[in-house]
C-alpha cells in the first residue's frame, strides 16, 4: 500500500495534466510507504510515449532526500492516452523494485485514473492507494 495526503495526490495529477500530451514523471519521497514530498521531474524525452527523468535532477533529488532522511517510496508517471497499467517498457525499466510505481492515465483528461503497482522481475502486482484527506505533513 502507498499512502499520500490529498494535496500530494493532486500535485501528481496536476503535474501530469501540465505535461499533457507528453508524459510526466516524478519521485514520491517519504517513509514507510507514506509520501511526505513530491518531486516533479523533467522528462528529458519530452514524448507522449516515453519518459526518462533528467539524470542530473535525479542526482540532486536523491542527495536532498538523503539529507532529509527520506526514502524512495514511489515513482510516478503518466500515460497520456492509455489505461493506467504498466507497459512492457515500464516493466523492463522498473529498476527500483522497492518503489511503488504510480501510473496516472489521462485517457479521459477530465477523469484521470490512478493505479499503483509493485514491479519486480518484469512482473507487476497492483497495490492499494490510500489518499488521506489531511493537509501536507511532510517537508
Amino acid at each position: 500500500m502507498i499512502t499520500l495526503g490529498f494535496p500530494y495526490f493532486e500535485e501528481v495529477i496536476e503535474h501530469s495534466k501540465r505535461e499533457y500530451p507528453n508524459e510526466a514523471c516524478g519521485i514520491l519521497a517519504g517513509k514507510n510507504g507514506q509520501v511526505k514530498k513530491v518531486y516533479p521531474m523533467t522528462n528529458i524525452e519530452k514524448s507522449p510515449l516515453t519518459y526518462l527523468a533528467d539524470p542530473r535532477e535525479q542526482f540532486k533529488v536523491i542527495k536532498e532526500m538523503r539529507k532529509l532522511g527520506l526514502e524512495l517510496v514511489g515513482i510516478y508517471h503518466s500515460h497520456p492516452e492509455s489505461e493506467p497499467y504498466p507497459s512492457k517498457r515500464d516493466l523492463e525499466m522498473a529498476f527500483y523494485p522497492e518503489a511503488i510505481y504510480l501510473i496516472i492515465s489521462l485517457k479521459d483528461i477530465k477523469k484521470p485514473k490512478v493505479k499503483a503497482f509493485r514491479i519486480k522481475d518484469s512482473q507487476f502486482e497492483e497495490v492499494k492507494i490510500k489518499v488521506n484527506k489531511e493537509v501536507k505533513n511532510g517537508y
Binding site: L49, Y51, L52, I62, R89, F95, Y96
Partner: protein, 94 residues
C-alpha cells in the same frame, strides 16, 4: 581507495551495504574491482560488451562521467562514486 554509493536495487549484491570501498585508476577498473568483491554487480551496471548500460548513471563526486571521459574517466583516492539507475519507462511498447 574510493567510496562507492550503491543504489537500493544493487544492495542485495553488497550484503545490504549502501557505501562500499573500491579501487582502480579508472571507472572501468573500479567496476572490475567491485565485481571481484561482489560477483554479479558488473552485469547489472554494464552490458554484454562491458560498456556501462544506457540506463545507469555514474557520478564522480558531482560530475556525470558521460560529460567526462565515460568509463575511462580517471578516479583518485577520496573520490565518491555514485551509481544511479535511471527513472524511465512509458506507455509505448515500442
Amino acid at each position: 581507495m574510493v567510496k562507492v554509493r550503491i543504489p537500493s536495487p544493487l544492495q542485495k549484491l553488497t550484503d545490504n551495504q549502501v557505501l562500499v570501498t573500491g579501487k582502480g585508476g579508472t571507472i572501468k577498473e573500479l567496476i572490475d574491482d567491485l565485481e571481484r568483491q561482489f560477483p554479479g554487480i558488473k552485469g547489472r551496471i554494464c552490458d554484454e560488451d562491458g560498456h556501462i548500460r544506457r540506463f545507469v548513471n555514474i557520478y564522480i563526486n558531482e560530475e556525470d562521467i558521460r560529460f567526462l571521459n565515460g568509463e575511462e574517466t580517471a578516479i583518485k583516492s577520496g573520490d565518491e562514486i555514485s551509481i544511479i539507475p535511471a527513472i524511465a519507462g512509458g506507455e509505448t511498447d515500442v
